[in-house]
């Protein structure tokens, strides 16, 4: 049985208590994510200029995992090209669900802390909800997306 500290690492606790970029952005693309079973809600705001994420923020309420994931996501994608963001989401999804994820360039960086989530299958959707919502915003699909 894995230690709870593998899931609730310092970085995750810190970002859940003091989320970064925790605000709306005027004039940005936005999408809403909702996890109807557990009640997590997140709205992601993203401003893309010349194919690059110029600004990104979020609002919402949820568990420590979902809040920390949204916060760390905003830090990870700011300044990245859209295709890099999608690549990062694929890597992030893998790190939440699989062992031995290949990341030769070290793109995951801090997001690696979510590797503890794979031991807790019911919590994977908490970690991935903000990312699904970000991609919906990039795809200009503002309708509420669900992880079910």
């Amino acid at each position: 049985m894995s230690d709870l500290r593998d899931l609730y690492q310092e970085v995750i606790l810190d970002h859940s208590k003091r989320p970064r970029n925790f605000h709306a952005i005027d004039g940005a693309e936005l999408a809403k994510g909702h996890n109807p079973l557990c009640g997590d809600r997140v709205t992601v705001f993203v401003k893309v200029v010349d194919g690059v994420v110029a600004d990104v923020g979020f609002q919402g309420d949820g568990c420590a995992i979902s809040k920390a994931s949204a916060s760390l996501m905003t830090e990870a994608v700011k300044g990245r090209r859209e295709d890099e963001v999608r690549h990062l989401f694929a890597l992030f999804h893998d790190v939440c669900t699989k062992d031995d994820v290949e990341d030769p360039e070290g793109d995951l960086d801090k997001l690696e802390v979510f590797s503890g989530v794979r031991e807790y299958p019911v919590r994977v959707k908490c970690a991935t909800l903000p990312w699904h919502t970000l991609v919906a915003a990039l795809d200009r699909k503002p309708d509420t997306i669900k992880t079910e």
Binding site: L4, C38, G39, C63, A64
Partner: protein, 161 residues
């Protein structure tokens, strides 16, 4: 209304020319009935009656009172729902910790609770909470289980300190 499925006991007579179904409800109850379930229900009723509802109620009330008192000593814990005649369930929230995180940590400590909106979102709105954690006590629980719950909650607070 046609039968939804074929099987034993749902026909009256069958020939190549014509099939006649049994009268409802048999028509809709094809196949082997749920015999094991009925036998199990009988055994469960015998078991509950051998203990007696008075004894069950007394045990559950004791656990509810004990748990209410023990949980009440935790500063950041708020018990949701204080009806005088409530069943032996305690819904609660911890300041700064989402109920799903409480659930995950208690689960790892061997304690099963329910966390979320409990399919009762209007009640969550009434108490102005997004979700709660909820522990239930029954005849298979003892005061030591309440103590384990309190220890588990202290572990939650330690992790989220």
């Amino acid at each position: 209304m046609p039968p939804w499925q074929g099987g034993g006991d749902m026909i009256r007579s069958v020939t190549f020319e014509k099939t006649e179904y049994a009268d409802p409800p048999t028509k809709f109850e094809a196949g082997t009935p749920h015999i094991a379930g009925a036998v199990g229900l009988g055994a469960a009723i015998d078991y509950v009656q051998s203990i007696g509802f008075d004894a069950i109620t007394a045990h559950e009330r004791d656990l509810l009172a004990y748990a209410t008192e023990q949980l009440g000593r935790i500063n950041s814990l708020r018990i949701i729902g204080q009806a005088r005649a409530k069943s032996s369930v305690i819904s609660f929230t911890l300041a700064g910790v989402h109920p799903h995180d409480i659930g995950t940590i208690l689960d790892r400590e061997g304690i099963a609770i329910r966390a979320g909106h409990h399919c009762a979102q209007p009640v969550m709105d009434r108490f102005e909470v997004a979700a709660t954690a909820r522990a239930s006590f029954g005849i298979h629980n003892g005061r030591d289980d309440v103590d384990a719950l309190v220890a588990g909650i202290n572990k939650v607070l330690e992790i989220f300190a």
